[in-house]
C-alpha cells in the first residue's frame, strides 16, 4: 500500500515543480512527465501485487479530522477502475509533451500540467478511499481540477461557458453526495465505508436516489449529461481523454461501490438504471450522430457508452434482486469490462482526434478530409479505435457488449417473473451498436478519406512519434482485451465475488460465458483477414493509382462535392427528430434552374438548450424581480422587516 500512497503523492504533485520554471523552458514539463510516469508505475505495482496476492489490501492511518481516517482499501472492484486509469494517465502525459508543449503555450501550459497531475492523483485517491470524507475530498478535488483542465484556454468564451456549466453540474452532484454520505454514515454509524452487503434496505431509497443523481451527474447519464459535451470539447485533447476515459467512470465506480454495500437490492433500482442506460445509450448515440464537431461527437459517444455500462449494471442489480447469479456475473462483468474498454478506446479516439486537430487547426469534421494519406499512423489508429467503439470483433468493445447481451438473454430462462422486460436491453443494444457504427463510418470517412476539404487539411502533417506511440499503446491494449479476454477473468471474477455478496456468485469461466471461444473466433477472423488481405495486397501492389474517381458522368468533380457530415447524418437524424429537434438550414432546391443552395444541420442539446436554459432564465428573472422588491433601498421598508420579524417570533412564542 505504501506504493499506492507514493503513487498518489507523486502524481498529485507532478505539476508543482513546473511552477518554478521559466514560462518557456522544457524542464517543468519533463519533470512532470517523469513524476507522473513514476507515480503511475508505483500505483500499478501496488495494484498488481494486491491482485496477485489475491487478498484485499488495507491501509489505515489516523487523521486529525472529525470522523475522518486516512483509510485506503484496494480490492478487485477498485483495481478494475485503477488499471485503465494508470495506462491512460501515463499515455496522456507523454502525448501532452508534444501536443501541448510549454514553449508553445507559455500562458497555460503550467496550469494544465498542474491540474492534470492533481486530477490524476485525486482519482487514484478516491478510487482507493474507504472513508467518506477522504472519498469526498478526492471527488471534489478531481471535480475542480477537471474544471481547470476544461478552462485551460479560458480566453475563449465558449470554453468559459463549458467550464461554467461543468462546474455547476459537478457541484450539484457533489452536494447530493454530501447528503448521501451523511445518510450513509448515519445508517452505518461511522464515516468509514461499511462492510459490503451489510446495510439494510430500509431507508435506502433516498440514499440510492442521491447516489443516482450525484454519481449519475458525473458519469453523464442522460438526462444528467448536460455538462459533458461542452466540457469534453473544450479541454485539450489529452485532458479530454482523461475526463472521458477515466473521470466519468468514477461516477460508475460510485454506483458500483454504493450498491455493493447493501444486503438486498430492491428491484426498482435495477429497472431504473436499465431504463436510464437505454435512454442514454440511444439518445447519446443519436445526438452524437448529429454533431459535426469531432470532440463534441466523441463526447456524446461517452454518454452512449455510459448508457451501455449502466445497462450492464442495471442487469446485474436485477440479478441480485431476483437472485440470479449468472445474470449478476454477466451484467457486472460486462459493465466493468466496458468501463475498462471505453476508457481505452475513447482515450485512443480523443488522442488521435487531438493529433488531427493539432494538424488541421479545427474541430469541424467538414474541414478535414483525405487525412489518411497525410497522417497514415493517426488514421490507422483512429480506425482501430472506431472499430473498437462500434463494438465490432475482434476488438475489446465487442467482448464487453457480448457479455451484456448474454446477460440480457438470461431473463428468458426465468419465465414466471416480471424480469422478462429486461430482454429489451438486447434490441436496444443492437440499435445503439448500429447507430454507433453509422456514426463512426461518418467520422472516419469524412475525416480521413476522400479528398481534403480545406487547405489546412491538404497541408496537414503526421503527428510526431511521441504522440503516435501512446496511441499505439492504447490500441494494443484494445486488441489485447479483444483477442485474449480470458486474461482478465481473474480480475473480473474477483470483482463479481466482491460485489454480488449473498446472491451467490457465478464465476465467468463457466459454460454460460465461453470467452475462450470468442477469443478463438477473434483469432480466426484476424488470421483470415490478414491472409486474404495480404494476398489481395500482393496482387494489387504494382497497380498505379492514377485515375480519377468515377464521377457518374460528371466531368469536373471537386472536393466540395463529397458527402458532408451533415448530409451523411441527415437520413438517420431525421428518424430521431422527435428527441433531437435538429435545426436544418437550407436543403431545398427550388425551381427548374435552381440558384446556389446549401444544407447544414445543427443539433443543440435536448436537455441543456431546450429545458434547462429556459428554466434557469425564468428563475433568474423571478429572483431579480423578488430582489428588487425586497431590497428596495428604503430604510423604512427594512425596518418594517425588523418589526415583522419581531411580531412573527412573538406570535410563534405565544402560540
Amino acid at each position: 500500500m505504501i506504493w499506492l500512497v507514493g503513487g498518489i503523492l507523486l502524481t498529485t504533485l507532478s505539476g508543482v515543480p513546473g511552477l518554478f520554471f521559466q514560462r518557456d523552458s522544457h524542464g517543468g514539463e519533463r519533470i512532470a512527465c517523469l513524476l507522473t510516469l513514476t507515480g503511475t508505475a508505483c500505483g500499478l505495482f501496488a495494484v498488481a501485487t494486491t491482485l496477485i496476492s489475491g487478498k484485499d489490501a488495507d491501509l489505515e492511518l489516523p487523521w486529525a479530522m472529525p470522523g475522518g481516517t486516512l483509510a485506503l482499501h484496494l480490492d478487485p472492484i477498485a483495481a478494475t477502475f485503477l488499471l485503465p486509469l494508470f495506462l491512460i494517465v501515463a499515455t496522456g502525459v507523454v502525448y501532452g509533451l508534444r501536443y501541448w508543449p510549454q514553449h508553445e503555450n507559455p500562458t497555460n501550459g503550467r496550469k494544465l500540467r498542474l491540474f492534470y497531475g492533481l486530477i490524476s492523483g485525486a482519482m487514484i485517491l478516491l478510487l482507493s478511499a474507504s472513508n467518506g470524507i477522504l472519498f469526498l475530498m478526492g471527488w471534489e478535488v478531481m471535480a475542480i481540477a477537471g474544471f481547470f483542465l476544461i478552462t485551460t484556454e479560458e480566453h475563449k468564451e465558449e470554453v468559459r461557458r463549458a467550464g461554467y456549466i461543468y462546474l455547476i453540474a459537478t457541484h450539484a452532484g457533489t452536494l447530493a453526495l454530501f447528503a448521501l454520505f451523511a445518510l450513509l454514515s448515519q445508517a452505518s454509524g461511522a464515516l468509514m465505508f461499511p462492510v459490503a452487503h451489510t446495510l439494510p434496505t430500509a431507508g435506502s431509497t433516498l440514499i440510492f436516489l442521491l447516489g443516482l443523481f450525484g454519481f449519475g451527474m458525473k458519469a453523464g447519464l442522460m438526462p444528467l449529461h448536460i455538462w459533458l459535451p461542452g466540457a469534453h470539447a473544450a479541454a485539450p485533447s489529452h485532458a479530454s481523454a482523461l475526463l472521458s476515459g477515466v473521470m466519468i467512470k468514477t461516477g460508475i465506480y460510485g454506483l458500483v461501490r454504493l450498491t455493493s454495500l447493501f444486503a438486498e437490492i430492491p428491484a426498482w433500482w435495477g429497472w431504473t438504471l436499465l431504463l436510464l442506460g437505454m435512454i442514454s445509450g440511444i439518445m447519446g448515440v443519436a445526438l452524437a450522430l448529429a454533431q459535426h464537431d469531432i470532440k463534441r461527437l466523441l463526447a456524446y459517444h461517452s454518454v452512449e457508452n455510459i448508457g451501455i455500462i449502466a445497462i450492464g449494471l442495471g442487469l446485474a442489480l436485477l440479478g441480485r434482486s431476483y437472485h440470479l447469479p449468472e445474470l449478476v456475473a454477466l451484467g457486472l462483468a460486462g459493465c466493468l469490462l466496458h468501463v475498462i474498454n471505453h476508457g481505452l478506446f475513447k482515450s485512443l479516439l480523443f488522442l488521435s482526434a487531438g493529433s488531427v486537430i493539432h494538424a488541421v487547426g479545427s474541430r469541424e469534421i467538414d474541414h478535414f478530409g483525405g487525412l489518411l494519406k497525410r497522417q497514415p499512423w493517426t488514421g490507422a489508429l483512429f480506425l482501430g479505435g472506431a472499430v473498437a467503439i462500434s463494438a465490432l470483433p475482434p476488438f475489446n468493445g465487442f467482448i464487453s457488449e457480448w457479455l451484456i447481451y448474454l446477460g440480457a438473454f438470461q431473463p428468458l430462462k426465468h419465465p414466471a417473473s416480471a424480469l422478462g422486460m429486461a430482454v429489451l436491453a438486447a434490441p436496444a443494444l443492437a440499435l445503439i451498436g448500429g447507430l454507433a457504427l453509422a456514426c463512426f463510418v461518418k467520422v472516419f470517412g469524412v475525416t480521413f478519406l476522400g479528398e481534403p476539404r480545406s487547405k489546412a487539411a491538404a497541408h496537414a502533417h503526421e503527428a510526431p512519434k511521441a504522440m503516435i506511440a501512446p496511441m499505439a499503446l492504447l490500441l494494443a491494449a484494445c486488441a489485447w482485451i479483444g483477442l485474449l479476454p480470458t486474461t482478465l477473468l481473474p480480475l473480473l471474477n474477483g470483482a463479481i465475488a466482491g460485489w454480488s455478496g449473498t446472491t451467490g456468485s457465478a464465476q465467468l469461466a463457466g459454460t454460460f460465458a465461453p470467452l475462450g471461444w470468442v477469443s478463438l473466433a477473434g483469432w480466426l477472423l484476424l488470421t483470415l483477414l490478414i491472409v486474404t488481405g495480404f494476398r489481395l495486397h500482393r496482387r494489387s501492389r504494382k497497380v498505379p493509382r492514377d485515375v480519377a474517381t468515377w464521377g457518374c458522368g460528371y466531368r469536373f468533380p471537386t472536393s466540395r462535392m463529397q458527402y458532408t457530415a451533415s448530409s451523411f447524418a441527415d437520413s438517420l437524424v431525421r428518424q430521431f427528430n422527435f428527441g433531437l429537434w435538429s435545426k436544418r438550414h437550407g436543403g431545398k432546391v427550388p425551381g427548374l434552374f435552381p440558384p446556389a443552395a446549401q444544407f447544414s444541420s445543427h443539433t443543440p442539446d435536448a436537455v441543456l438548450d431546450r429545458v434547462l436554459f429556459p428554466a434557469f432564465r425564468g428563475t433568474a428573472r423571478l429572483c431579480r424581480y423578488l430582489r428588487a422588491r425586497i431590497q428596495n433601498g428604503e430604510t423604512a421598508c427594512y425596518l418594517l422587516y425588523v418589526v415583522l420579524t419581531v411580531i412573527a417570533l412573538m406570535t410563534f412564542l405565544t402560540l
Partner: protein
C-alpha cells in the same frame, strides 16, 4: 472429435463456397421467366466471378488501403459467419453460448468496412450509398434481435445451434407457431434489406441515384469487385440458412438428405425472392425506414406472444 469437427467444417465450407453464387442465378432466372425472357444461364454468376478474378485492378488516385479492406472484410466475414450457423440439419462446426451475437456483429464489421471503402473514393454517389446502407441496416438490427429473442425463448441454449435445433418442429405446432410465423416474415424482410433486394434496393438498376449497395462498389474493379460479389453471394446464403432452417425444421440425421433439404430450401427461397422482385416495385427511399420500423414492431409483437 477433431475428425468430426474437421468433417463438419469441410462440408460446411464446400456447400457454402460451391452453392452460394447459384442463388443469384436462380433469382435472375426466376425474374427472367416472370419477364417472359429466357435470361442468362443459371451458372452465369460463376462465369462472371471467374472473369472478374482474371481482370486487373484500377484504382482511383483518391483511394488508400482502406479501399481494399472493404472487399477483404466483405469476403471473410460471411465465411466466418457460415461456420457459426447450422445449414439445415447440419449443425454448425463452431458453436458456443452467445455465438449469435458474434454472428450479428460480424456482419456489422463487414458493413463498416464496405461503407468506409465506399467513402474512400471521395465520390458523393458512393457516400450516398454508404449512408443508405448504414441507415437501413441499423434500423433492421433490432428486428433481428427480437427474432433471436423469440428463438432463444423457445430453446434452452444461446448458441445458434441450440436456437435452430430440432425442437423448432414441435414449436411450430405449439402456441409459439404464430410467433415463429411472424419472425419468419420479419427475417425475410431483413434478408431483403441486408442483401439489397427489391423492394428496398434494386441490384440491377442503372441509375446511381437510386442505388444503395451497388453504388458503394462503383469504383471497385477486377478481383476486388469479384470478392465483393462473391462475398455478397455468401452473405445471402448464410442469412438464408437462418431463414431456411426456421421454415423447414426437419432433420433426418443423414448428411446427404439434410444437405439436399437445405439446398432445396435455399433454392425455394431464391425463387421466392425472384417472385418478390418481379411482382413488387421499389419503395420510395423515405418509405424504407417506415417499413423497417413496422417490421420491428411485428417482431416485438412476436416476442410479446412468446413471453406471455
Amino acid at each position: 472429435m477433431i475428425g468430426r469437427l474437421a468433417l463438419s467444417l469441410i462440408s460446411h465450407l464446400i456447400l457454402l463456397l460451391l452453392f452460394a453464387p447459384l442463388l443469384q442465378g436462380v433469382i435472375t432466372k426466376t425474374k427472367s421467366i416472370f419477364g417472359g425472357r429466357i435470361g442468362p444461364p443459371l451458372l452465369q454468376p460463376y462465369y462472371d466471378l471467374a472473369r472478374l478474378f482474371r481482370k486487373e485492378f484500377i484504382f482511383s488516385r483518391t483511394t488508400t488501403w482502406v479501399f481494399l479492406a472493404g472487399p477483404v472484410v466483405g469476403l471473410v466475414v460471411p465465411l466466418l459467419a457460415a461456420l457459426l450457423i447450422p445449414f439445415g440439419g447440419l449443425p454448425a462446426p463452431i458453436s458456443f453460448e452467445g455465438d449469435l451475437i458474434l454472428f450479428i456483429y460480424l456482419f456489422g464489421l463487414s458493413r463498416f468496412f464496405t461503407a468506409v471503402a465506399a467513402l474512400d473514393t471521395g465520390s458523393s454517389f458512393e457516400g450516398m450509398g454508404a449512408v443508405r446502407e448504414v441507415t437501413f441496416s441499423c434500423l433492421a438490427e433490432p428486428t433481428v434481435l427480437f427474432a433471436l429473442l423469440v428463438l432463444a425463448r423457445l430453446s434452452d441454449g444461446l448458441s445458434l445451434n441450440a436456437l435452430l435445433g430440432p425442437h423448432l418442429l414441435d414449436a411450430w405446432h405449439s402456441e409459439a407457431g404464430a410467433s415463429l410465423g411472424l419472425i419468419l416474415v420479419c427475417l425475410f424482410v431483413v434478408l431483403l434489406v441486408e442483401n439489397s433486394r427489391i423492394p428496398f434496393d434494386d441490384p440491377d438498376t442503372h441509375l446511381e441515384l437510386t442505388m444503395i449497395h451497388e453504388v458503394m462498389v462503383l469504383d471497385h474493379s477486377g478481383p476486388a469487385l469479384g470478392m465483393i460479389l462473391y462475398g455478397a453471394a455468401l452473405k445471402m446464403m448464410v442469412l438464408g440458412a437462418l431463414l431456411v432452417r426456421l421454415a423447414l425444421p426437419w432433420q433426418t440425421g443423414w448428411w446427404l438428405s439434410d444437405a439436399l433439404l437445405f439446398l432445396g430450401g435455399l433454392s425455394g427461397m431464391a425463387v421466392l425472392i425472384g417472385v418478390v422482385e418481379s411482382t413488387m416495385a421499389r419503395l420510395l427511399l423515405p418509405r424504407v425506414p417506415q417499413v423497417l420500423i413496422g417490421t420491428s414492431l411485428l417482431a416485438v409483437f412476436a416476442l410479446v406472444l412468446v413471453l406471455r
